[in-house]
């Protein structure tokens, strides 16, 4: 079994990371069954204490925090996943194109990317989202395009290293088309660094969505997401309630979990041995 071998190969920190990720993924996938209450169901008084009748208390309008965290995991993680997948497909495709075709295609794509990347991420997202609206797909598209830019740079750099190999030249001499060269010669050899980068980008996307939600431009209420939960409960802090810290720590925990796993993958991809 490949999966078992994969897990055996991981070191301890990576396994912890994997457990964290699987735990959140489980919550996200089975939210309606796992959560004790509905997503926007008002179940009690406002700011019910943590550890009382409700495990994580209730929020500012009396919804169960635990249930909202679980549903929030679903919205936030799924959105982040789709967005990261978008940015990777787009970024890698552009990067490979630039590396294999070179010349003006490379110049054009690289300059476009330079322009987009020169605008700070959060500001670019804020401008576009406030102009176009905040539906699920707009968010995915906007963040996807913004984060495709750094992916482009990495994909291009990796592909350029692969592109000069004799086996790519051999494929060209055989008369293979561009698509085949990108898909069969370059992609398999660029997979490891790209996969590691995927985990990292996933975190960034996740944080950006949470950040946008915190500013009120992410997913709109009553949909639960972690960033919005931090924001809407933030005034509780002033009254001594710990509630906003719970979704915040979920964000931190998932980010840490992903980074633990990714670190070990990057380590492996770089070919370093443990004894170095």
């Amino acid at each position: 079994m490949k999966i078992i071998e994969f897990i055996k190969d991981l070191n301890w920190s990576a396994r912890i990371g994997l457990i964290i990720i699987l735990f959140f993924a489980f919550c996200a996938a089975f939210a309606p069954w796992v959560a004790p209450y509905g997503e926007s169901q008002i179940v009690g008084d406002v700011w019910e204490p943590i550890g009382g009748e409700f495990l994580f208390g209730t929020d500012l309008i009396g919804r169960d925090m635990l249930s909202r965290l679980i549903f929030g995991a679903r919205n936030t993680i799924v959105l982040a996943l789709i967005t990261t997948a978008c940015s990777f497909s787009l970024g890698a495709l552009m990067g490979f194109l630039a590396a294999t075709m070179g010349g003006w295609v490379d110049q054009l794509l690289s300059r476009i990317v330079d322009i987009i990347i020169s605008v700070p991420t959060l500001i670019a997202a804020l401008i576009v989202v406030s102009a176009v609206g905040t539906s699920f797909f707009v968010l995915a598209a906007v963040i996807g395009i913004i984060y495709a830019m750094p992916v482009y740079r990495i994909a291009r750099a990796v592909a350029m290293d692969v592109e000069v190999m004799d086996y790519v030249e051999a494929a060209r001499l055989r008369g293979e088309g561009l698509w085949w060269i990108m898909k069969r010669e370059i992609l398999p050899n660029a997979m490891t660094p790209l996969a590691a980068e995927f985990g990292l980008r996933f975190c960034f996307v996740f944080l950006l969505i949470s950040g946008l939600s915190f500013l009120g431009l992410g997913l709109q209420p009553p949909l639960a997401d972690w960033g919005a939960m931090v924001r809407s409960n933030s005034e509780g802090i002033a009254w001594g309630f710990m509630h906003p810290l719970i979704p915040a720590s979920c964000i931190a925990l998932l980010t840490i979990g992903i980074n633990l796993l990714v670190d070990s993958l990057v380590h492996k991809a770089s070919g370093l041995r443990d004894d170095h």
């Binding site: 190999m165 004799d166 086996y167 030249e169 051999a170 060209r172 001499l173 055989r174 008369g175 293979e176 069969r184 010669e185 398999p188 050899n189 997979m191 041995r273 004894d275 170095h276």
Partner: protein
């Protein structure tokens, strides 16, 4: 002095191979006297580098010394703390690596790097070190020894860099120098300069040396004594002259055996010309230097033309012109009587199919993420449209032709040895059923015996399939073994061309003679004789060629 300087006894070194400790040096012993040179010879994987390096008390990462003793001047090295060993390395024992280009730091000047070890070991201060550096640079025949130290590694040639590295090793007056294949990456003509510089330096200082190489002819020039290693075991040990004259073990005899010359085929009339290169001149885009000028070559069906020259002679560029990767600025390439389109994009699939290429480095010529099945099967599918079971049958048939077991079909290139990889590359070329195969230095990355196997295979395939070869190489032994016709190139021009017998027999053209005379021979006196003859002006040197 008869007292031994270095005494290695029953050393057992193991390596971590996929999680298991396996012995790679099997209880080998060696004694080295002051001023003596021992040659360690063997194929890759023989354990010769590992054994040589242990004289520094050093093992590569992933290796460990299990038992045995290493005594340097009476001091035991096994079990010494790192700090003590560091004091010895570069000080009493120095190391010269195979690839000088990879061993120098590109961000520092040669003299800075030369001075580092003596200063670190507290032997000299900076000003002394720079004086000494100039002295040694001069001794090693480096040009402009007073100022060459201010250059950066990329500003000197490969041969000079290798000598600079030897200078570095000599810098702190070591007792022993370990040379690890110092000339393997160099051209034959450059190799001579480095070899004679090293030999002179070692002799005049009376330092002991361990010379590691896979080339018996080179070790014959350098060593007093030779140890032949194979799979971590000692095959034969003895006095160099005696062993070369009278090898006892079969393996040593095989290494010594002179390659058989190919029978001269009768050259038919020009009816069968398959490839004709007519007056081709080419330069790389954005430059204004002709890498090739006025090249004309004809190749008959079923014959082999060898293109010989050192690096920079333009021989690989010629391959790029024929394949269409570099369109020529002047002249034409015709195939089967038709002029080929200059650029790759305009070529028909049939044209592409008929001319195949085999590369020097089989490791990078195959996609490491594809299985043998796909590597060989893809051209079968791409050119001949065979898929599924038909494709697999053809792949298996090809694997049989190149003498690779059928069960290798689902392996990745990384799971094959160097020779097997090159065989797969040959099969990939054959899969297209070509009429011409361009072989670009196909054997230069391989061990001698493996290389001979590959040449044999190519020969048999030619007899069987009547395919033509354009054989690009710097190795004259290969040429003697396989060519019908020879084209000698120098600085982008053809110096001489003609049937093998005509080129390889006197009277020689000057450059051809330089190349021929630079190929190391098994005779231990060959290097000294040659250097002597060149000094007297009886044999051409690179310098005399440059003046013409």
């Amino acid at each position: 002095m008869t007292e031994s300087l270095l005494e290695i006894k029953d050393i057992l070194i193991e390596a971590d191979i996929e999680g298991e400790w396996k012995p790679i040096v099997n209880s080998l012993s060696m004694t080295l006297k002051r001023g003596e040179v021992i040659g360690l010879i063997g194929e890759s994987g023989a354990g010769k580098s590992t054994f040589g390096l242990c004289a520094l008390g050093y093992t590569k990462p992933g290796c460990r010394i299990v038992s045995g003793s290493i005594k340097l001047d009476g001091q035991e090295l096994v079990g010494q703390p790192e700090a003590e060993l560091r004091n010895i390395r570069g000080n009493k024992v120095a190391y010269v690596a195979q690839s000088a280009a990879a061993s120098f730091n590109p961000a520092h000047t040669l003299l800075d790097q030369f001075s580092e070890a003596p200063i670190q070991h507290g032997k000299m201060v900076a000003s002394e070190a720079s004086v000494r550096g100039r002295e040694i640079f001069a001794q090693l025949d480096l040009p402009e020894p007073d100022t060459i130290g201010e250059r950066y590694p990329h500003q000197v040639s490969g041969g000079q860099l290798q000598r600079a590295m030897t200078a570095m090793a000599l810098g702190s007056n070591p007792d022993i120098i370990i040379f690890d294949e110092p000339t393997t990456a160099l051209d034959v003509t450059t190799q001579i300069e480095v070899l004679s510089a090293i030999k002179e330096a070692v002799k005049s200082r009376n330092v002991a040396a361990i010379y590691i190489t896979h080339d018996l002819a080179v070790v014959a020039q350098m060593a007093d004594r030779i140890m032949v290693l194979r799979y971590g075991d000692l095959v034969e040990e003895g006095d160099a002259r005696e062993m070369l004259a009278n090898p006892k073990q079969e393996y040593t005899q095989k290494l010594l055996a002179v390659r058989s010359l190919r029978d001269n085929k009768i050259i038919d009339d020009a009816q069968n010309t398959i490839l004709e290169i007519h007056d081709v001149t080419a330069r790389y885009p954005g430059t204004n230097i002709d890498v090739l000028s006025n090249i004309s070559i004809k190749l008959e069906k079923g014959k082999t033309v060898a293109v010989v020259g050192e690096s920079g002679s333009g021989k690989s560029t010629l391959a790029r012109v024929i394949t269409g990767l570099l369109p020529p600025s002047k002249g034409t390439v015709s195939f089967r009587g038709e002029v080929l389109p200059a650029s790759l994009k305009e070529k028909s699939r049939d044209n592409l199919r008929s001319i195949q290429m085999i590369y020097q480095m089989a490791d990078v010529a195959m996609n490491p993420r594809q299985r043998i099945r796909e590597i060989i099967g893809r051209p079968v599918e791409f050119y001949l449209g065979k898929t599924g079971a038909e494709n697999e049958a053809r792949v298996l048939e090809l694997m049989k032709q190149i003498e690779i077991p059928e069960n290798f079909i689902d392996r990745f290139p990384g799971q094959l040895s160097g020779g097997e990889k090159q065989r797969i590359c040959i099969a990939r070329a054959l899969a297209a059923e070509p009429e011409l195969i361009i072989c670009d230095e196909v054997t230069s990355a391989l061990d001698q015996l493996v290389a001979e196997g590959i040449l044999d295979l190519l020969q048999n395939l030619q007899n069987e399939l009547n395919v033509s070869y354009l054989f690009i190489t710097h190795d004259l032994a290969t040429v003697k073994a396989i060519a019908d016709e020879i084209v000698v190139m120098y600085q982008g021009k053809i110096v001489e061309q003609g049937p093998k017998a005509q080129i390889l027999e006197p009277p020689y053209e000057d450059y051809t003679e330089l190349l021929l005379s630079s190929v190391p021979e098994m005779d231990p006196d060959w290097l000294d004789d040659l250097v002597e003859r060149r000094k007297r002006g009886e044999a051409p040197t690179s310098e005399t060629l440059g003046q013409r």
